[in-house]
Symmetry: C2
Subunit: 564 residues, 2 copies
């Protein structure tokens, strides 16, 4: 492709709203433009990258036996009502009324539509398993669209849906997708984690997120470099045993005067004990109004998602001063002994000896508290947030923390949709049973941004080879110099003839502007044709690498062969 | 692909609303399913055909130097308001309100969006010409969606937009697209016409439609088999000279009594003259209220589209009895002589001698009327509808008539959008000028239906090879017969290994059902593996051809090589 007849409107400055590298460089590099908040135009260069990502996704989905379909973007409200999601989805669903007053949603996902197709066309166990997928434009009316392609209102997704006769087979389908996703993200050249996700709200059996590691990402992940364990902080476990304090002999319970001292740090200092021996007593109000007390060791943080999942509620909040007062609980000095509400304890409290708790009396704490001598919690539960350095729950190596960008998510849905929509099949035994489903998403357009977030420098993008818009960039530094032009043209034709995707910068602009654009656009390999042609030489560069190599023009062919 | 793990839900009966062959067979063959009125799901087989059409379109567009982009489906109302189309488009435009109350249209076409992109990113003549295209899902809220993929509410289009510095260059871009479209439709294997279209409402300079010939199509076309001339009946010309009557000497004007006789046929009979010598005088009321009289020879039909275009109005209608009365015109006996409103004449009246017209008096006609002796029309204009047998305006061979399905439409738009939206460029002479535009559409999903309309028999589809979902269909007639199964399996593996797209019917169903499905699905080549394997033979068939050929299993490889 000749740059002179192509369309790469590079910019010196990114628009003010561009905050993250992918947003900045995709706009500055002429890959995308914003049409309206959260709506982006893919220019020729951006479109090429998008298609490359699509094709990698498609190849691996096809290899896994998934069948590509294309479902309408307009999805009738009646289907959404069958599963209750017409109401649940709220403002994120774009809703459209047709000329006859019928309501439709612009599909953000297609569980309802595909389940409708399946219930109408699949009757027997002989027709199963099936996995249908599509690569399609999706819609979500985000409250705060931002970060360019990362959080848009119209975006390209790969969504897949598996249908199986049994949970065992469904797990097989799920695992096949898990492996397929690994192949996809590997080929895309991304540094990613497969993360155990919280399934709370969706109610599925398993769920994994695929998260690309990037600084300042929205997802907070705890992971183990040694064994590959990774989980959202909300769901992450850790191996507590290694963090336990050594056993001690139980000392007699004692109430001590701690005037005005109530925070963990202050109490530890005042009493001269380790924070690990201070036990916090947190009072939570569940969404049904129930109050519960949760104990956790002073050096650990309580994870509200774990708490919400444990109590199987939609919401819970820390009791306010007013709520504590109503419960006759003394703020700042709460403790489990003699408390009138159910007491649960984090596993960090199990096996703790001679610890400190509030005495439920202003300015007093108990010291030398022991379980079960002094009180007995209803249950010991994993309520605490795992953190960097905690032992991996699988291999016990120290965990790491990172932030990331979710680019894929897989769910074993079970029968949630098939039961709601009556998608049954007749099994080998002649009985009607609900089909077991899974669903599997990949953010295709978001991946374009994720790749840039992970691979850039201060001058622009450094594309992974598998999704670079072109593989080779030939720069003719001075197109008016006939010798430079002839050599560049020759090399361009040779590369084209060898089937290499090549962008040839034949524009009549300064060498500086060409280098700037080339760095911004981020094509992996570069041949610079400049003054050295007089000595029969050109320069080779790899985007992102420091070294430059001068080679004889006659030797370029060998280099090109490596790019084929 | 093994049919046993694929998804081809064939049906014995088409749904009641399916009236045309493409609708019937695409549903019965398991290519598509309807989700709601005008909304279709592409199942795996249909998706393959759609992709093949897309890829042929893409290849030729790329070869023509057009640059592929992807624009948002949601297009802001503000852009549509700039060109006035937000109001003009009416109910066909799906309109969506976002959570902040901002209005969007689901793009039925993207002139506004692409013009906005161009005005923001192209400033100089050096950046032109450009031709941007996309292959995308489009929306139109049809009042009566029907005929399956032919008239849907959500459909796949290729839309392209050219931008040039001058009309001369724009015509070059237009002609390049014209040639590109020919290549596309040729490769698709369709019998089509390139038709001169009426540009009235859009106001462009040139316009051509590409129409696939099908019975009962919506488009009415007049065309010449000899030279390729083709036009919509609304726009078609014909060579009038050959149809002229021989010259005569002028006879004296005479008023004759024709009691109760007013239709062309009756007057001709009553007076004993040829219908060609009767001239009808039609009174039209234009949309601004002006009344005009239009003369046309008795044997020809007036074409209202030509009339509307000539007078440059949006609408016109034949005067009603009341309107004639208000104008003091005698219904049934209108004539040009002494008439108080402007008189225009169709070219069929030019050079006509001694003809008959109404006398503007009840029960009277003039005979032996001659121009300019007895009256003088304002102008002679081509107002008449061309018809089968008329001489071709280009080569004079007799014209033919057909109906068809429009699958492509190209327009030279000129500056309509660039002026309305201020898409200017700075020319070589330093002056700002509006960019000259063209737009070019292809109905990608409609082409799938058009191919079926044109190529089917009573049993199902006969796909053109270039867009068939698979090239080869192997039927194992009895999968329980291990010899049949082994041979079929062997041939399947061999075809796969040779890179042939093959569907292998390995299902455990009756031979009759397999043949029925195979005919319905319409894959071009077929290998039938049946009882003859005992003699070392299989059968070859070509879909749509009568003959079957038995060949030795060992010779199948030679046949497969021809399919590669």
């Amino acid at each position: 492709m000749r740059a002179s007849s192509y369309f790469i409107p590079t910019l010196k400055e990114a628009p003010a709203e561009a905050e993250v590298p992918s947003h900045i460089f995709l706009i500055r590099g002429g890959f995308i433009r914003q049409l309206a908040a959260g709506l982006y135009e893919y220019l020729p260069l951006g479109f090429r990258v998008l298609k490359k990502i699509e094709n990698i996704v498609r190849k691996h989905m096809d290899n896994a036996g998934a069948l590509e379909v294309l479902l309408p973007i307009l999805t009738p409200s009646e289907l959404w009502q069958e599963t209750g999601r017409w109401d649940v989805y709220g403002k994120e669903l774009f809703r459209v009324e047709d000329r006859k007053g019928r309501m439709f949603a612009l599909g953000p996902t297609h569980e309802e539509t595909i389940t409708d197709l399946v219930r109408k066309n699949i009757r027997s166990y002989k027709d199963l398993p099936k996995n249908f997928y599509q690569i399609q434009t999706k819609f979500r009316d985000e409250a705060r669209p931002r970060y360019g392609l990362i959080r848009g209102r119209e975006f390209v997704m790969k969504d897949a849906y598996s249908f199986d006769v049994s949970e065992e087979m469904a797990v097989k389908s799920y695992n096949l997708m898990k492996e397929t996703y690994r192949k996809i993200f590997d080929e895309l050249g991304l540094d990613y984690l497969m993360v155990e996700a919280d399934t709370g709200a969706i109610g599925g059996k398993f769920s994994h997120e695929f998260v690309v590691k990037v600084p300042n990402g929205e997802a907070h992940i705890v992971y183990c470099e040694k064994c590959g364990y990774a989980a959202n902080v909300e769901a992450a476990k850790y191996e507590f045993e290694l963090d336990k304090l050594p056993p001690e002999e139980e000392k007699p319970l004692e109430k001590v005067h701690t005037p005005g001292v109530s925070s963990v740090t202050d109490v530890a200092q005042f009493l001269g004990v380790d924070e690990k021996k201070i036990v916090k007593t947190l009072v939570y109000i569940l969404d049904d109004g129930t109050a519960v007390a949760v104990l956790i060791r002073g050096d650990r943080e309580l994870n509200e998602t774990k708490l919400i999942n444990y109590f199987n509620v939609l919401d819970a909040h820390l009791a306010s001063s007013e709520e504590l007062e109503k419960l006759n609980i003394v703020e700042g000095f709460v403790g489990p002994i003699g408390l009138d509400i159910p007491v649960y304890a984090d596993i960090s409290v199990k096996d703790l000896h001679n610890f400190v708790v509030g005495a439920n009396e202003k300015d007093y704490h108990y010291i030398n508290v022991n379980i079960p001598r002094d009180f007995k919690p209803v249950e010991f539960v994993d309520f605490s947030t795992a953190r960097e350095g905690d032992p991996c729950p699988v291999c016990k190596a120290p965990l790491k923390e990172t932030t990331g960008l979710e680019v894929g998510h897989i769910f074993l849905l079970g029968t949630k949709y098939s039961e709601a929509m009556k998608a049954y099949f007749v099994d080998r035994d002649g009985r009607e049973k609900p089909i077991i489903m899974g669903c599997y998403g990949i953010g295709v357009s978001r991946l374009m941004a994720a790749a840039v977030e992970q691979s850039h420098d201060e001058n622009g993008i450094i594309w992974p080879e598998s999704i670079a818009p072109f593989k080779l960039h030939i720069l003719a530094l001075n197109i008016k110099d006939s010798q430079i032009k002839d050599v560049a043209e020759q090399l361009y034709q040779k590369a084209l003839g060898m089937g290499i995707e090549v962008l040839y910068d034949d524009r009549d602009i300064s060498p500086g502007a060409k280098f700037k654009d080339a760095d911004l656009i981020g094509i992996p390999y570069r041949i610079v044709v400049g003054k050295k042609v007089k000595e029969g030489k050109v320069e080779l560069q790899k985007r992102g690498a420091e070294e430059k190599e001068e080679i004889k023009i006659n030797d370029v062919e060998g280099f090109l062969q490596k790019l084929q």
